[in-house]
Each structure stands twice: as C-alpha cells, then as structure tokens.
C-alpha cells in the first residue's frame, strides 16, 4: 500500500492480505474468501463435474461420488420433475425407507405410474 499507512496491528493485517491478492504465489493457493454463490447441487448437469456422471474410462465403476446421491440432489436441489416419482399425489412415501441414500438406496422401490 502506497497511499494508506497502516497504523494499528489490524491495519497491518489488512494490508498484508490486500497485497497478497496481487501476489502471483498467493494466487496459486486456494481462494481465501469464496464468493457467495447460489446453491448448485453437486453433480447436477448444469455444472461440469468430471468423475461424477462417468469415470475417467467412461464407466461408472470409479466415480468419486456414489451414483445414488444423484437421486436426491436432483430431487431436492433442482427442478427436475421427470427424474423422481410424483411425491405429492401418487407416491408420497417413496423415500420413506431411505434415510441415507448412499446406504439405503436399495430400499427405494420401483414406482409404477
């Protein structure tokens, strides 16, 4: 800082932080304050998230997230009505036995319209 003189200790910390924002080495580290972004569910097709829909070989064996997580992320976080049963009228309890998708996904029955 050239035009502001840091007087107290907090000002020195603010300056150090501000100076590091223009610092090439510091820029290689993780961002210090991630901007507040709207919630985008993990693995939603809106974001490109390799290792989620398909693994590096194009299969599903080496996914970094269990595929079952998809179900709930699209169901609760996105407007994607075709993907899950109609929970309001036809199949209100379709997830009742599935407390944790990763563990209990086998307990979700098929739902027939």
């Amino acid at each position: 800082m050239k035009h502001l003189r840091s007087v107290n200790r907090k000002a020195q910390r603010v300056s150090r932080h501000a100076d590091s924002e223009n610092d090439v080495v510091a820029l290689q580290g993780p961002p210090q304050q991630p901007a507040a972004a709207p919630h985008i569910p993990l693995g939603c097709s809106l974001v490109f998230s390799p290792g989620w829909e398909a693994d590096r070989n194009g299969g599903t064996a080496g996914l970094c997230q269990p595929v079952e997580r998809d179900l709930f992320d699209c169901h609760t976080g996105c407007f994607w009505p075709a993907q899950v049963p109609d929970q309001l009228n036809h199949a209100p309890d379709w997830t009742a036995k599935c407390a944790a998708a990763q563990k209990d996904w086998r307990k979700i029955d098929l739902v027939f319209p």
Binding site: H3, S6, N8, A11, V14
Partner: protein, 485 residues
C-alpha cells in the same frame, strides 16, 4: 463502468493528518493526500473511476488516482455500487472456550451501604438479605471453585482469580485458604494463578496489607474522590461518610504494597461529576497509580442516574483529562487515566468484538454457594446461572447465551461505527436499564461514539508524534485480567 461509493468507516483528524477507522475490521489507516481527496470526492456523491480521475486531474496524475482507488477498494474503505458488502460472518467462539478469569464472591455482606450499589441498592437483582444464598462462602466451596477454575482453564498455563463481594475483606479467612489451595493445586497441574481483589478499604489492617503485599495480590479500591464526593454515597449503615476511615488506610496500603500498581475505581453519579478534581485528588493527594471511571449502573429514574446532559458534561471532562494523558504520553511520562489506556490498547490491537466483554465466555462469577453466573454482577441470580462449580458449566445454556448475544444479531448496533469496540455494552447495565441482557445500551450510544472518537484521535496522534509509546501494547498478554467493578 460502475460507480464507486464509500463503505463503512469513521474518519477523523489527528496530528494534522486524515485517518479512517474501518468497520468492522477495526483497522486504522492514515490517508495521504490522494486517498484523502478520493474519499472527499466520494463523500459528495458516488462516481466512476474515470470521473474521479478527471475531477482530480489537476492535483494527481490519472494512474495515481487509479492506484489509490485500488488500494482503498482492497482495504474495503470504498466499493462498487450494487456489489453488496459481504456481511461479517457470525463467528461463534470455539467450544469449551477456556476460563481465564474467575471472580469469586466470597461474601454477600458489606459493611457500607452505598446508596447506588447494584448489589444492595434499589436496583439489585439478587435478594441478598432474605434470599437463600449463604452470606459467606465456605472454605469447602472456595476449594471447589478453585478446582472448577483450574479444570475449566483448559490449556492455559495462567489462571486469574479475583476476589469480590460484598466487601471482600469481610471474608478474609476464606480468601487466604483459597489462595493457599489454588497455589498448591496449580503447582500440581503445572499452572500458575494470579490473584487480585476489589475492596472498599474500610477493613485494611496492617496484617492484611502485609499479606497482600507479600503475595503480590492486585488491589483495586472502590473510592469516589475527595471527602465531599466519597461521603455523598459511600456511607455506613448509619449514614456517616467513609472517607475519614478509608483515606489513612489507603495511604498505608500504597506505602507498603509496591509490588503491583494499585488502582482506584470511581463510580460517577449525577451529583459527583467533577472528573478532573477526582483524578487529581486520587493521584496527587492520595497516590494511586491509576484511576478508572465508570458511570453508575442504575435504572434511569434514580436521582443519582446520569441523564443526557450529564453524559455530555462527562464526555467533555473525559476529553479534558484525556488531553492531559496525551501530553504525558507525548513526553513519555506516566498518566494514570486508565480508561484511555485501556481503549487505545484495544485500538492498537484492532479488537473487533463479537461480545462486549468476556462474561459467560472467558470470565465467570461464582456466588457464595458455588453457583456459576455470567459475571460477578450476576452471581447468585438464578436467571443468569451457567452451572455450578461442582457440576461444571451447562454448555447448552452457555451456547444459547452466546448465540443470542452475538453482535451479528444486534440490529440496533448494525449501523454504528463504534460497534467493534462497544458491541452493545455491559449486559448488567442493559439488564438494569431495559430488563434484558440482550438489549444494547442505547442510552449511552452518543457518549460511546464521542469517547471512541477521542481515543482514536489520541491513538492516531501518538502514532504520528510518538510511535514508540505504542510499542508497549505490542507484547502485552491478550487476556490480562483487568480490575473488576
């Protein structure tokens, strides 16, 4: 290109320079001509970078204006219109926050009947006369309290134990055994305990003075000033003043007890509001090293309560005495106006408080029967109980309290530039005024802002004219126990 606007700060001048106190970061920056000019222009209206450069082109080259704008933006003194300022996150203290100071109310009894007393007077919150609380703490409870303190001090090597009352010295035997026990237990655990007490000085006898000096006990004396002021409120049960009893005893104490600086703690009321006179008497005529002042805690309708005009007059007097402090500090002389020193130390460190004080967090008060409360002022009040020394702290109650009292939730304070230092003010004061601890102390906002501004100016002037003076605050322990009142 988007327009720029000022962000939240308080600007002031000192030593012929312009300064800003940024909120909520509590950083103090000195402005040069360019940054000062940018802020001045943006104060008139919002404008874009290129407008600024054009308007200031006669004074500064365009690239210098650009550079200044970037610096001010990075320090968050200015920002783009339409880009909302990130709200300060509500950061809660870590769980099991260590206890640094325990205030032990060794007795509920007092041999004085000060009219304004928050413990016995008209605004008391605990029924000390007919209540179920025992009047004196037993040795057993004192020992359990020491165990509690050391257990709750966590990883800290040093714990502060402050004795309080009632009149603390009415239970001198328990104070002595508690100290002895604390030393032994702390030594076993590889810790140390620092002792201090607050007293009205009426019971200081040569052997007690000897004991306090030998054991390096920090002493704070409650005294209101010269005879006519002391005797206005600090009276015995029969109404007679206490000045003639305490003055010689205090002189005796100051003569013998030189191992630690001894401070006076003055309660200001509407009738005793001559601060310079009080200060002069207590330092020059009695010999105190430091004097701290605090307005009486009371509901607004008491005749000794300080009303609006009273706060104005108090501020003017504080400022006059603060000027003396500044002169002394510029010449590297000691000055005992502890209110200034405490505040500029906080400014130097850049304290931005989530809570007004450590009550319920690093500081707790223990009542005579071992109940743990927010602080000594609430000790014995069931509504402000956090646990007992035997069963420990009820963490759910504590977390609930800390959740509710965080500065992020004090809407009244959210636009005030003084909030990093004030944070809403004393819980006990709020409880007495408004009936709830969570209420910000709105009756003294103007006074707090005026006083903070004064201290900022002193701090900034010292940073220009005698920066060496401020180095003493660099190495000070962050959590030193201050006097309790």
């Amino acid at each position: 290109m988007s327009e720029l606007a000022l962000r939240e700060f308080h600007s002031f001048q000192a030593g012929g320079k312009d300064f800003v106190y940024l909120v909520p970061s509590a950083a103090v920056f000195e402005l040069d001509d360019a940054s000062s000019a940018v802020i001045h222009r943006l104060r008139q209206r919002n404008m874009t970078r290129s407008d600024l450069a054009r308007q200031l082109s006669a004074l500064f080259p365009a690239d210098e204006v650009q550079e200044t704008v970037s610096e001010l933006m990075r320090a968050r003194a200015i920002g783009e219109v339409g880009v909302p300022e990130e709200p300060a996150p509500k950061v809660m203290p870590p769980e099991n926050f260590p206890l640094t100071t325990m205030v032990l109310n060794v007795t509920n009894q007092c041999n004085l009947s000060c009219t304004y007393c928050y413990e016995y007077g008209e605004d008391k919150i605990v029924d000390t006369e007919n209540g179920k609380k025992s009047k004196f703490m037993s040795e057993q409870t004192a020992r359990e309290s020491v165990d509690f303190m050391l257990r709750e001090s966590g990883e800290n090597r040093l714990a502060h134990l402050t004795f309080f009352g009632g009149e603390t010295l009415m239970n001198f035997p328990v104070l002595k055994t508690a100290m002895q026990y604390a030393r032994e237990r702390a030594a076993e655990m590889g810790k140390e305990v620092d002792f201090s007490l607050t007293t009205n000085a009426t019971l200081l006898r040569p052997e007690i003075i000897e004991f306090l000096a030998e054991n390096r006990v920090g002493v704070t004396i409650s005294i209101d000033g010269p005879k006519e002021m002391q005797d206005e409120f600090r009276v015995f049960k029969n109404g007679s003043g206490s000045y003639d009893i305490v003055a010689p005893k205090i002189r005796e104490l100051l003569k013998r007890h030189t191992s630690r600086p001894i401070g006076a703690r003055v309660t200001l009321t509407s009738q005793t509001l001559d601060i310079r006179k009080i200060y002069k008497h207590l330092t020059e005529e009695i010999g105190f090293w430091e004097v701290g002042f605090a307005p009486v805690t009371t509901s607004p309708d008491r005749k000794y309560a300080i009303a609006n005009e009273g706060f104005d007059s108090m501020l003017a007097q504080f400022q006059a005495l603060a000027d003396d402090f500044l002169q002394a500090a510029l010449e590297n002389r000691h000055h005992g106006f502890s209110n200034v020193k405490d505040t500029i130390e906080e400014i130097h460190k850049g304290v931005s408080k989530a809570y007004p004080c450590g009550a319920g967090l690093g500081l707790m008060g223990v009542s005579t029967d071992g109940d743990v409360a927010l602080c000594h002022r609430f000790a014995g009040s069931d509504a402000h109980k956090l646990g007992t020394v035997r069963d420990g702290i009820d963490r759910l109650v504590q977390i609930d309290f800390l959740e509710k009292h965080h500065i992020a939730d004090k809407t009244d304070c959210s636009k005030c530039w003084a909030r990093p230092l004030c944070s809403g003010g004393c819980y006990h004061e709020a409880y007495t005024r408004y009936g709830e601890t969570v209420h910000p102390n709105l009756h003294y906002c103007e006074w707090i802002r005026g006083w903070t501004d004064t201290c900022l100016k002193i701090y900034a002037e010292l940073s220009v004219r005698n920066p060496k003076y401020l180095e003493q605050f660099d190495d000070k322990v962050e959590y030193e126990a201050s006097s309790v009142s």
